[in-house]
């Protein structure tokens, strides 16, 4: 198991957002985390990435306990994420958004930068090359110097994924990457996600609100409702589970 969440509970005052969550991701797996609005999906991401410390339970990455660690340290250990509402550094350029994520790897300090030492310039050039390479792999190299906020919506989504990839994650958490996309765009994005999973050897946990979108690419689906897991299994199993249909698909059928 590369990522393992055990008996996790997240409570905000009187609100129990997630309870008794168990989740285990195998290396290279693509798992969908689905559930109706307010089911606690994003909270799960926030706990795994260290934005919140869980009220109870543990999270381990490759066997190492990362429960309650600072977000930047968890990122450095190999978990990266994207956001449901795009959170790029919109006034910085596209390439700078990627460079920010490469930033912590640098060895030269402030003084190297001020004095423009050779070490600094070499490293700088190397990082830019690396960032350009990543951008090329998501087809954004031609807009590298534009402000991130000026890109069309779909490109901003890809840039967010690219920025997450720049931290060289082992596990990538994608929070509703297809939100706001039409069916054709969603399908294209799902193909893109599969592609980067294979190219970068990632393990992916993918939040999606619409079940249909993840059906096609997830090997396994976990269904969350009101903070608890109500079903787990292959897409086929999950879609036939009466509890899921009741909690989730049932609502959608009547809608």
């Amino acid at each position: 198991m590369i990522l393992e969440v055990r008996e996790m509970r997240m409570q905000f005052g009187g609100l129990l957002a997630v309870d008794r969550l168990n989740l285990a991701l195998k290396q290279g797996e693509l798992v969908g985390l689905i559930g109706p609005n307010g089911a606690g999906k994003t909270t799960v991401f926030n706990v795994i990435t260290g934005v919140y410390a869980p009220t109870r339970g543990t999270i381990t990455l490759e066997g190492k306990d990362i429960t309650g660690m600072r977000p930047d340290l968890i990122t450095r250990m190999g978990i990266a994420r994207t956001f449901q509402n795009i959170r790029l550094f919109s006034r910085m350029s596209v390439i700078e958004n990627v460079l920010v994520s490469l930033h912590w790897r640098l060895r030269s300090g402030v003084f190297d930068a001020i004095l423009q030492t050779r070490k600094y310039r070499d490293e700088e050039a190397e990082m830019r090359a690396k960032a350009m390479d990543l951008l090329a792999r998501v087809n954004l190299d031609s807009v590298a110097d534009l402000p991130a906020g000026s890109l069309p919506y779909g490109s901003q989504r890809r840039l967010e994924i690219c920025r997450a990839l720049a931290t060289e994650p082992k596990v990538l958490l994608l929070d509703e990457p297809a939100a706001g996309m039409n069916p054709a765009e969603s399908i294209e994005l799902m193909k893109f996600i599969q592609k980067i999973r294979d190219e970068f050897g990632l393990t992916i946990l993918l939040i999606e609100h619409q079940m249909r979108v993840v059906m096609g690419i997830s090997e396994r689906i976990v269904v969350l409702d009101h903070g608890v897991v109500i079903a787990e299994g292959t897409p086929r199993e999950v879609s036939r589970n009466p509890r899921v249909i009741e909690a989730y698909l049932g609502v959608e059928q009547h809608a």
Binding site: T49, G50, V51, R70, P71, D72, T75, R76, A80, R81, F83, R87, F89, S90, R91, M92, E96, L99, V100, S101, H103, W104, L106, V110, A113, I114, E124, R163, A164, T167
Partner: protein, 299 residues
């Protein structure tokens, strides 16, 4: 008014404006990153001035050593203030951390009174800046420090802009200023970047404080209060959160202040009140300041 008098005032205005600009940068940098007015910032001027005063007077350190020491220690003071008084409150309501900042300011001022004594001290001047060094240019007597202040300010401003826009640390600072949580999730050590921001802002305040003491060579533990308030106003006037805005705001405020005294001597008693009129005017007419833009609430 004679032309020579005008130039005299102009030279004064430029150097006062530069001083304000230098100190205003610190307010704006901290605001940009924490959305906090660091009311203790002005008191760092006093801290730096006293360190030089004691470094020269008590320990007979050479000038460069006492200046470097003062900048380093003041920078450290800024880091300690953030660590002790702001970081533990980072997730508290903004009013709480603001009140903490006011508390730190009173604490530093009163510690100054206890440690240094309330009696004003005359600040030692290096030979190149003492009263005999003033130059006569076209009938205008201008002290050397009047030229040095704008030059030093310009140099530091260029260095700062270089750091912010051309280095990795600066990029991280901009990212943290934009969105703390996301920056952390991209692997940036947010606490370290905030500490660096305080260190840089405080170092600029230290240089400002030392030059202030050289220009007005009488120091006391409350000397940072009024310049601190004015530079805060300058930062708001220029558009808080924006470095160039702070510089322009500080510069304009200094120039306007001197010119009011020069052209309207009858109201020169209200010199200090003028800054606050600007503050009220800015908040009423253009709350985002000259170069400011609407920023989303940071949650």
């Amino acid at each position: 008014m004679q032309l020579s008098m005008f130039f005299q005032h102009l030279a004064n205005a430029v150097s006062l404006g530069s001083l304000y600009a230098l100190v205003a940068i610190g307010y704006t940098m901290v605001y940009g990153i924490l959305r906090l007015i660091n009311f203790a910032h002005g008191d760092l001027l006093m801290v730096a001035a006293y360190i030089v005063y004691y470094g020269r007077g008590m320990f007979h350190l050479p000038w460069p050593v006492s200046i470097v020491l003062a900048v380093a220690l003041t920078s450290g003071t800024g880091i300690i203030v953030e660590r002790a008084a702001y970081r533990p409150l980072r997730n508290s309501p903004r009013t709480t951390i603001l009140i903490s900042a006011i508390g730190v300011s009173f604490l530093v001022e009163n510690l100054g009174l206890v440690v240094f004594g309330g009696r004003p001290q005359s600040f030692p001047l290096p030979a190149m800046f003492d009263s005999g060094s003033a130059k006569e240019i076209a009938g205008v007597r201008v002290e050397n420090i009047t030229f040095v202040i704008p030059a030093v300010t310009l140099l530091l401003l260029l260095a700062l802009l270089h750091i912010v826009h051309r280095t990795k640390v600066g990029m991280a600072m901009r990212a943290v200023a934009r969105d703390f949580d996301t920056a952390g999730l991209m692997g940036i050590d947010v606490n370290r970047i905030i500490a660096v921001t305080f260190a840089i802002g405080s170092a600029l305040a230290a240089v400002g404080g030392i030059m202030w003491a050289m220009k007005f060579p009488q120091i006391n533990p409350l000397m940072g209060m009024m310049p601190g308030m004015k530079c805060f106003i300058a930062a708001v006037f220029g558009g808080i959160g924006n470095i160039l805005g702070a510089v322009i705001g500080g510069f304009l405020l200094g120039v306007a202040e001197i010119m009011i005294v020069a052209f309207l001597p009858s109201i020169s008693g209200y010199r200090d009140a003028f800054a606050f009129v600007i503050l009220i005017g800015t908040l009423l007419l253009r709350p985002t300041g000259l170069l400011g833009e609407k920023v989303a609430e940071k949650v």
